[in-house]
Subunit: 146 residues, 2 copies
């Protein structure tokens, strides 16, 4: 394949695994989530407002906890961008997440960076950084020392 | 150079440009910041609580605004990790940022993902995603729809 065709193919593949990530999220499917992450200590994950989790085991446990505590989740994305550089691909987007638990529904806007690596011909997620987007009237958490 | 030596060299180079980023931040030095970013529409930047900025011009303007509205900034980092894959390098860390303006001082914990690309032998920042770390009692912004 020419480099141009390789890039187009890689972009389609990364777009696909990124979609699979959001499908796993919406279907609260831990098995699907397990399949698309690299099982390695290098992986990192920041859920909105959470500290950064390091290593696959911690990341897997966090998804298990989130899925256990959620009845349903709907995610739409916008401001999507995707870049490929060799065996690394990254996506940035804004997520609109509506999650329900025990008849309580919440909608939040989230900024996301998703990073993928190609390993043995397969793309795998290695980083998900999701952070709350400021809504009008929102003040970032801080402690005033003076 | 052997692949191992190349990797060690790349790690040292990415560590160096990551340090330069925090030095530029602490010294409120727009010129230093300009030198270490790739001037390209692909760059992305999320300041804590801000929407994602796309393209170098928007990112440059944001640093100009932040530096203009800050008298001093101190940044220390912990939980540092660094990975290299070909011409891509990424760093994750937790920042402790103390910023002052008009005798008002604030300290915040921030989770950061920094992504760098090697272009013509030089590493350049292409993504900075910084998000507020939940402090005790913090609730992520959301709107209740039910």
């Amino acid at each position: 394949m020419s480099p141009e065709v390789q890039t187009v193919t890689a972009e389609a593949e990364v777009r696909e695994i990124n979609q699979k990530f959001y499908q796993a999220l919406e279907s609260l499917d831990l098995e699907a989530m397990e399949k698309l992450w690299l099982h390695h200590e290098m992986v990192r994950c920041v859920h909105p407002g959470w500290p950064m989790l390091a290593g696959w085991e911690s990341v897997r446990e966090s998804w298990e906890e989130i899925f256990r505590n959620t009845d349903s989740m709907l995610v739409s994305t916008r401001d999507f961008s995707l870049h490929i550089e060799g065996s690394v691909g990254w996506v940035t987007c804004t997520e609109r997440v509506t999650s329900k638990r025990s008849d309580r529904s919440e909608t939040a806007l989230v900024q996301a960076t998703n990073l993928f690596l190609r390993r043995e011909g397969e793309w795998r997620m290695v980083l998900h950084h999701a952070s709350p987007l400021a809504l009008p009237g929102y003040t970032p958490p801080s402690e005033t020392v003076h």
